[in-house]
Symmetry: none
Subunit: 208 residues, 4 copies
DNA sequence: GATGAATGAGATTTCATTCAT
DNA sequence: AATGAATGAAATCTCATTCAT
């Protein structure tokens, strides 16, 4: 009788891979043009499949959108966490590395996708919550470093929350303007952003 | 038949007022949800008018969008210019006032509309150019002050362009998070933003 | 400013008329082929308009479906009520007239629409309730007459509810088979149905 | 290569059993919601199988539909025929038993499937013919008994055809309302239906 | 035998736009 | 100036059907 056997591991893996492909394409497009401006036709076209296929994996555009954001956020945070694991040094050194990595990833690998996090209102309310969570997890990395630096007297700020918000806003916006520079100039631009933003944790301090 | 009478002044004024009402409503909505997510139906509804009426004043959604941005940008810049006219003091003082005013306006008066400027890619290409111009004019105010401060040795930065971009990004994003605070707490939040962002023009300097 | 003036009476009437046209066409089609088998394209085609226009009056297929049923039920019941007003006589006479009218209307005027009432499960749950209400109102007419006859000793039944159900089922199904007869034969068929169904209220009685 | 082995008997039986399972599930669903409202996905889900598997047994939805009806009709008629074989007595007694059995089966065993026969227009035309045939065979049982009763003077009707139609309609509709009663009350309800419908063959007769 | 994946046709729905009044 | 009505193109979504494995 129709006892469903659970799909084999190989099949599972393949399905997961396909889903990742879709999510990547979707996240790119959503990041490039915004959720509403991207039609499923666009997504399907980029993947060279038909619209219908997308519905085999996601039951609505909303769901695809949420999943795309989620994957993106997860991957992003994972990369930042990984960077911190292999970076030694003072909070100063590590925070700068974190900012630098964040902007690098944004500019080079997801040239436009970060904006997904910037416009929470654009999303149906179900997604908004999820986005906020991702944002929190992401912020936590920066927050921990900043607090470490504050504890050691290395940093000085007016308000940790405000610094986080400003940093996040600037980093997220970076690809918009760095993307317009010739590739050769981007490395320098990213460095400047990192240097500039580091000033936010040295408010009113003596020069270092 | 008789020559067409040019519309009386009174009629002209009335028309202008109506147009302003429409533009305000449109700018708010576009800012809240993004250009694509807003239908003319939404705009008409907020104005308690029918869709068709909008076409009496604007010949397309694009045009309405452009006009909304333009008006918003003009008014905004005018307010900032006006502030500078009545503010005396060092570049430090005046820049801080400028930032403070910018964020205040954003948070209090156009709680949602500022984001219009953040996402140039979301707009049809015709609008994109116009937005860039507005942005330039807006940036010019800040740039002049910063350069003044640099000339006098009061400020120090890694790169003026980078500072401008970071400042702009943070200020534009501010309403998103300040808007979630209880109104009583907003004043303090805006102050903190201003203080925090001022650090961007004191990079690596001795404490002030 | 955009104070909406309520639409003029003439406009209101026109709108109402248009809506009736749509509902009639829709009810016919739904009755002919079933709710699911009818696409809005079909409805639009029969009315010689585009799909989009239907959405000007009804915000979804569901809503159109519900409204179609409702109108149909209202009109139907009104005709039966009107018949009773102008018919004098014993419950026997009046009940027979009621049955006859019901079947006549079904066969001649709404050749297929009655089935809408027969398949409540085919409808989304929101509609099911509405259909039940209509059914109750409709049944009330028959029930009152039957109870009158029972009180006077003219009728005898095993169970009023059961009689109502059987009557309703048979009357609703009638168009399905009478519709296949040549038009000339239909009058006789309807008469036979009425005579046959009258037996249901004379259960176990002496001959009359 | 070797000649294709005809499938062993055991395999054949298994296949037959599987087909029966599918047909039962399909008939239930079609009866519950109507042919069009049921997707193969629904059918597959109820069987805990994938859509594709259904195509191993049936080459199209149409074919599945036809087969479902046919099986149902066959089984149904067989049960009625079997009942008649073991029931002795006057046409009165036997007809009542037949009605009672029909409604019992409908209410208890195929709570929803009977409506399949009520709405021939809903079906693709290929099926419609087949349905009519089944209906004829089914009617034949009732018709024979009625004519026997008429011949013996036990029954009196206005028109055999009309009586058959009314009976059939009422019996088919019965599960719709009896299904809503608490199970304990159903037995009585079925009895009442049988008693009530028997009146149809005693039109204008002296009480019995 | 059965499954997961994919397709393509068609259904529902949205929306910028036009137009007669 | 403004409205109600209508349109048509495009977007979201559904589903019977096919097929490689």
């Amino acid at each position: 009788m129709g006892a469903v056997k659970p799909p084999s591991e190989r099949v599972q893996r393949k399905r997961g891979k396909r889903i990742q492909e879709i999510l990547t394409a979707a996240a790119e497009l959503f990041g490039e043009r915004g959720y509403d401006a991207v039609s499923l036709e666009h997504v399907a076209e980029r993947l060279d499949v038909t619209k219908g296929s997308l519905y085999y994996y996601f039951s609505s555009k909303d769901e695809l959108g949420t999943a795309a954001i989620e994957t993106l956020g997860d991957e992003w945070t994972a990369r930042l966490e990984h960077l911190l694991e292999r970076t030694e040094g003072t909070p100063e050194v590590r925070l700068r590395a974190l900012i630098h990595e964040h902007v690098t990833v944004a500019v080079n690998d997801y040239p436009a996708a970060l904006r997904l996090f910037l416009m929470p209102r654009e999303w149906p309310s179900a997604q908004r919550e999820r986005i906020k969570e991702l944002r929190l997890r992401h912020d936590a990395l920066f927050r921990a470093l900043i607090e470490e630096g504050l504890a050691s007297g290395e940093f000085a700020v007016t308000s940790v929350d405000t610094v986080l918000q400003c940093m996040h806003a600037a980093m997220s916006q970076a690809p918009t303007w760095c993307g317009e520079l010739p590739p050769a100039a981007r490395g320098k631009a990213v460095d400047e952003v990192a240097d500039t933003l580091m000033a936010l944790v040295h408010i009113g301090q003596l020069g270092r």
